[in-house]
């Protein structure tokens, strides 16, 4: 693995009873990048994250974090936003942030906590109980707890879960800000549009095995192009198209390698009324569906 990796995972295997949850996974996350950890439900993402955090131990393989094997004090240099679960409900918001930041092993000042609460528009809830927060506010509070101790590596599991579009955009820009500040970010999400927007590199796992790994742009190029079509009529069978995702008036035509888009356009124009015809690289969503659906 390269030297500038903040995190590197080598040949990781984890079994629960007879079930192999992770099967020889290897990957590295570079310093100050946003790395997408992708996979369908049950692919092994949460197990992977738990192993990185030393909550679970692998059966074989190794994890190197910030240049060394796992040591307990490294937990203080990692921030974690879990997908579910939570926080103590009956304590005040401020106390909650304070306690969790202390658990990371290093003191955080009260003004730092107040600063973050204000930044995420939670200032007015400072002395309210956590149970009084809405789902979105609760998520923002969890986000603060994951970053308050200024970690070197931040692991975000479904960071936009429960957020409205405004708050989603807010968190997005904060993640970018943290990346620009030098933080390494691992993001696990099912929202492929977010991954496309934010991630530099990705790892797609399915049934515990690596399906795709590398720079997002390169992966997308490897999968060729598709045609975004808006039409009226009935789509004909067309050569050069490997798969059609048809929604009625809109369709996504996944192209085979070396397909002739001009010939395709002509053929389509003979059969249906075309409202829109757009040649584009394939979306990560399509790639995900194709790979996971195999």
């Amino acid at each position: 693995m390269e030297e500038n990796y903040s995190l590197s995972v080598e040949n990781l295997t984890k079994r629960f009873g007879n079930k192999t949850v992770l099967d020889g996974i290897s990957f590295g996350v570079k310093k100050s990048e946003i790395f997408g950890l992708l996979g369908p439900n049950g692919a092994g993402k949460t197990t992977m994250i738990r192993i990185i955090l030393d909550i679970l131990r692998p059966d074989s393989g190794s994890v190197s974090i910030l240049g060394s094997g796992f040591k307990e004090e490294i937990k203080g240099r990692i921030g974690y936003l879990p997908e579910e679960g939570g926080l103590y409900r009956k304590i005040k918001v401020f106390e909650c942030v304070k306690y969790f930041s202390e658990l990371k092993g290093y003191p955080v000042t009260d003004s730092e906590i107040d600063g973050w609460l204000k930044k995420l528009e939670l200032g007015e809830y400072r002395d309210r109980k956590v149970q009084e927060l809405s789902k979105g506010l609760h998520r923002k509070l969890q986000f603060i707890i994951s970053v308050i101790h200024k970690p070197d590596i931040l692991i975000l599991d479904e960071p936009f879960y429960g957020l409205d579009p405004v708050n989603k955009m807010h968190i997005e820009s904060l993640i970018q800000e943290l990346k620009n500040g030098g933080m390494t970010i691992i993001m696990s999400t099912h929202q492929m549009d977010e991954v496309e927007k934010m991630c530099d590199r990705i790892l797609l796992i399915n049934k515990g095995r690596t399906v795709l790994y590398g720079i997002l742009g390169e992966i997308k190029e490897r999968y060729g192009f598709s045609i975004g079509l808006e039409y009226n009529g009935r789509l004909p069978k067309i050569s050069g198209v490997s798969r059609v995702i048809d929604h009625g008036n809109e369709a996504e035509l996944l192209l085979e390698k070396d397909a002739d888009t001009q010939a395709l356009l002509k053929k389509l124009a003979d059969s249906v009324r075309i409202e829109k015809f757009e040649v584009k690289t394939r979306s990560l969503n399509e790639i995900f569906i194709e790979e996971v659906g195999k």
């Binding site: 955090l53 909550i55 103590y88 202390e102 990371k104 092993g105 290093y106 070197d152 500040g181």
Partner: protein
Amino acid sequence: MNKRNRPINKVLTVARYEFFNTVKKKAFLLTALFLPLLIAVPIFLSATYLPNLMDGSGKSTGFVDDAGLLAASAGYIKYPDVDRAKEALLKGDISSFFVVSGDYLSTGKVTRYSKGISSNPGIDAFLTENLLRYAKVNDSVAKRILQPSVLVVVSLDDKGNVKEGGSDITSFLLPYMLSILLFLSIMTSSSYLMQGIGEEKENRTGEMLLSSISADELLKGKILGYGAVGLLQVGIWLTMGLLVLSTSQFAPLLAGIKLTWIMGLAVVYFILGYALFSVSIACASAISPTAKEAQQTSSIFTMLAALPMIFSQFIILAPDSDIAKALTLFPYTAPVITMMRISLVDVSLQEIAASLGILLVTIFLVLKLAGKIFRMGMLMQGKRPGLKELIGFAREK
């Protein structure tokens, strides 16, 4: 990235959080302060006022002496006949009266009159005093008849030397009370621990916590924090109990209590007993999906904690029996049973050492397993693991 300052001790952070968070709860305040008050106040009131209420609020007792044996004395007023005595009773001058029949010496017949329910435990003593005077028994003999003994008990050890540790009653009471306190504090601390972990399971806080702190540290912090809660609660109860006792007729007993090695041993047994129960209950709670189920899963340990109380009658009757000795060695009953037995018989040093040794080894083994079971249990949601899964947890690296 972070300017790392002085690291914080995570175990103490958890302990402090659990302690202050629990003692601030209404449930704690109610249990620690109001529960003993609820028990102590009626006892105090009844001990102070009931005798007066029972015999008519401190009023004198009347009597009619048809046998010609009795003389009036403090608290006892003589009436010439039943009608006069009745009149005084109805007017409220006396609380009750009794009539000593003419053939009293041969029959012992005494008839008592009162309004409603009342008792008068002093009648016998009053009659005895008068009978002694009637029989012209000399004063010193009469005094001994009224109080045959002023008991001084000296306990000897196996070599015939006088044992230290206060009067006989205190040397029995002290370890016995300590064993009860031990039981109460273990139960109290463990129940708070169980409740705390149950709430964390319901809130799904486990993953967030374990991403910041190791399961071992978390477990140790909780055990320390809730242990301190239990000690505080028992401390409050003990202080309140001593305050009530010091104002009661049992006050002289307190003066007889001396600090001995038994108290030191009680502290050692408390620490070890609490450690064993709390670790066991923490694991049982961690593998239960809700606080309610945590209570059910932990009931096996609360039953084990109650075992010495169930056996207490038997232990008092046969403190040196094989069962008593076996319970001294069984780690879950050792702390309370040993203290109980020490209050009754001489428990050999070898027995105490063996009991402490087994307890320590068990704690070591349980702690080793507990870290893994606790870590995996805290991550599980929605169901309780089966035996196979628990074995799997124990095998985790």
